[in-house]
């Protein structure tokens, strides 16, 4: 069963073609990594799927619904959550509020101005549970903008997974982290995406091969291969385009 299907998706910015006909099939429950050299269009692809950009052509199907060119909030409500490459939180709200905001819609609060947040025991417990998962329980009342970098990245993840979305998309979740921080983050990602579908853009190959069930290689706006980590490693086209130098240098 596929949860997300892209058919010949294209994106032009002016005359330059950034995504040049991507077709991709993500199976329910799989951990899928998208790799590729800088400027290949990985983040653009994420933005197209999550609704930040409109597609120039092609269709994106999520759980049976066409989502291309829909605004981000409608896509998010269908159960697709994402994180960002550059930390994208609510800096002057505290850590607890950040996560609680991310829980509101999926818990049916909508635009309510007749519920008092302080009295929503179940919601607040769920928020604390997410904070516990991402290891920020003791920072609950801390202004999120003043957290350490790795903690902000953890919060970034927390906001993405709080809603309990079926499909989680993480854009370079461990970028800029030290080795030990990255290890913790990978452990965290594994834990919180259990039973969910994950699509991840990541540069660190050891993490990619460690986490992913399947890998797609994006080069100049085109997917040149989608396969298991072993086959991707062995694929001469991939090695030539991108991977070879990384494998030898690692």
């Amino acid at each position: 069963m596929s949860i997300l299907t892209l058919k010949d998706v294209r994106k032009n910015f002016g005359v330059s073609e950034i995504i040049r006909g991507v077709s991709l099939d993500i199976k329910e429950g799989e951990k899928h990594a998208i790799i590729g050299p800088n400027g290949a269009g990985k983040s653009t692809l994420f933005h197209l799927i999550s609704g930040r950009y409109n597609v120039t052509a092609g269709t994106i199907n999520f759980n049976g619904a066409e989502i291309q060119n829909k605004p981000p909030y409608e896509i998010a409500r269908l159960g697709l959550a994402r994180s960002f490459q550059v930390t994208n939180i609510f800096p002057r709200l505290n850590v607890f509020e950040n996560v609680r905001c991310a829980l509101l819609w999926s818990n049916g609060y909508g635009y309510s101005f007749w519920h008092l947040l302080g009295k929503q025991t179940e919601l607040n417990e769920k928020t604390m549970h997410v904070l516990e998962q991402i290891g920020l329980k003791d920072k609950a009342l801390f202004p999120s903008g003043e957290l350490a970098y790795a903690q902000q990245r953890a919060l970034e993840l927390g906001i993405a997974i709080a809603s309990g979305a079926e499909l989680v998309m993480l854009d370079e979740p461990v970028a800029g982290m030290s080795h030990s921080e990255a290890e913790n983050a990978v452990e965290l990602i594994r834990r919180i995406t259990e039973g969910k579908t994950l699509i991840m853009v990541e540069h660190d190959m050891s993490i990619v091969f460690d986490v992913a069930d399947r890998i797609s290689v994006l080069v100049y706006g085109e997917i040149i291969a989608t396969d298991t980590p072993e086959n991707i490693r062995a694929n001469p086209k991939v090695q030539e385009a991108y991977l070879g130098e990384v494998v030898t240098s690692a």
């Binding site: 909030y73 609510f90 002057r92 509020e97 509101l104 635009y111 309510s112 101005f113 947040l117 809603s163």
Partner: protein, 412 residues
């Protein structure tokens, strides 16, 4: 904060509102309290936009003014017995009109925040103010329209002819409006307004349309601005174009900003300070608007979080029990700083006055004598120098009062 503590703050607020006239019962005092009541509701409603929602509006008087005009029309209808209801509900009429205007205007102006929102609000404000002068039947032209609040059914024998009676009516409305505006900040819509202010993009990726979130705050803000307009109509029994033009819009911005946007109580403080300046200072000086402007600039430069922020700055020192360490340094810097500003005020006033002698705090100053100027300039320079010299001490005192004690340092 505990439930009981929170509740006692609200009860205290209500008691202060209701007890004020017991302590200050002059006609002037009651008139000032009525203005404060109106200003508090108006500036709190403004803060729903700017402080809570990140929408800088230059046209908030539109909702205040339209609410006020309809409220005066309602008074006229009551007077001519077209309708029959108690004037207690006049602020509600203002509120409904403010809300309707906000629904209409907000439907397109909240699409974006930032400069675009600010420019649209400015344009709409000018448009409505200019239009109001054309439709003289409804808005009464430059003279405005007036009504009489003493008609309609009596409320337990009270006809609201006295300003004091209106004050109690206003105080109840202020309390209700404050409670509801506070509660709004505690709801999903209110909290998402903060989130959209901080990061509209991310809000969209957690399921919320930033535009819709802004629209809801905008409507709520219009509702309460309209209630303030209704209170204005009840208090003054007349309203003119000035109450919906840029002057009033600018004043509410100043109030909220000087009070402190980041705190719920900030706009209340700002409303109190500006009302006092407006009604007291204007008795003493024609230049009070100049002083208000200087105060605004100084606030923006040195107290970006307003008076409320200034008070809250002392929380750490207070929690550590070090607040009294600051008293003396504050005095040492404060006295010359005060002297400096007062001397500057004296010189500005001397320049402005056409009289040869000018009374300043009981002193008779000869405005055309060179000696007066020499003395004034000497005092100003000396006071400025003394202030400058004392500032490093104040800074040291501040740092030691806020320093983390050695006993706490080991943790974290």
């Amino acid at each position: 904060m505990g439930m009981i503590k929170k509740l006692s703050v609200w009860i205290g607020y209500l008691i202060v509102l209701l007890a004020l006239p017991q302590f200050f019962d002059s006609i002037l005092a009651i008139s000032i309290f009525n203005q404060m009541a109106i200003a508090i509701v108006f500036s709190l409603s403004y803060n729903m936009l700017l402080g809570q929602g990140g929408m800088l509006s230059f046209g908030h008087a539109v909702y205040f003014g339209l609410g006020g005009f309809l409220a005066v029309h309602a008074l006229i209808l009551i007077e001519f017995e077209t309708v029959y209801f108690s004037i207690l509900f006049i602020p509600l009429i203002g509120g409904v009109i403010g809300l309707l205007a906000a629904i209409f205007i907000g439907s397109f102006s909240t699409r974006k925040a930032g400069t675009i929102f600010a420019m649209i609000s400015l344009g709409i404000g000018e448009l409505i103010a200019a239009t109001s002068l054309i439709f003289t039947d409804f808005f009464g032209g430059e003279a405005g329209i007036s009504g009489d609040r003493t008609f309609g059914p009596l409320f337990f024998g009270v006809d609201f002819a006295q300003d004091l009676e209106i004050y109690y009516l206003a105080a109840i409305w202020v309390f209700i409006a404050t409670v509801f505006m506070y509660l709004f900040t505690q709801t999903p819509a209110g909290r998402m307004a903060n989130a959209v202010r901080e990061n509209p993009e991310r809000a969209e990726f957690i399921g919320y349309s930033a535009r819709r979130v802004r629209f809801i705050s905008f409507c709520a803000s219009g509702l309460f601005a309209g209630i303030a307009g209704g209170l204005f109509a009840l208090n003054y029994e007349f309203i003119t174009e000035e109450n919906l033009n840029a002057i009033t819009s600018g004043r509410v911005l100043l109030m909220a900003y000087i009070g402190g946007l980041g705190y719920f109580i900030g706009p209340i403080i700002g409303a109190v300070i500006l009302t006092l300046m407006n009604s007291l200072l204007s008795n003493y000086s024609e230049l009070w608007m100049l002083y208000l402007g200087i105060m605004f600039i100084l606030t923006v430069m040195f107290l970006p979080r307003g008076f409320a922020g200034f008070i809250m700055m002392h929380q750490t020192a207070w929690l550590r029990g070090n607040l009294k360490q600051l008293a003396l340094p504050y005095l040492i810097s404060g006295i010359p700083a005060f002297l400096f500003s007062m001397t500057c005020v004296a010189m500005i006033e001397m320049m402005q006055t056409e009289e040869q002698s000018f009374s300043f705090f009981g002193m008779q100053l000869a405005t055309d004598a060179a000696l007066t100027w020499i003395v004034a300039i000497t005092i100003a320079v000396a006071a400025f120098y003394a202030t400058r010299r004392s500032l490093p001490q104040l800074r040291d005192a501040w740092e030691s009062a806020n320093a983390i004690p050695a006993s706490e340092k080991t943790e974290s």
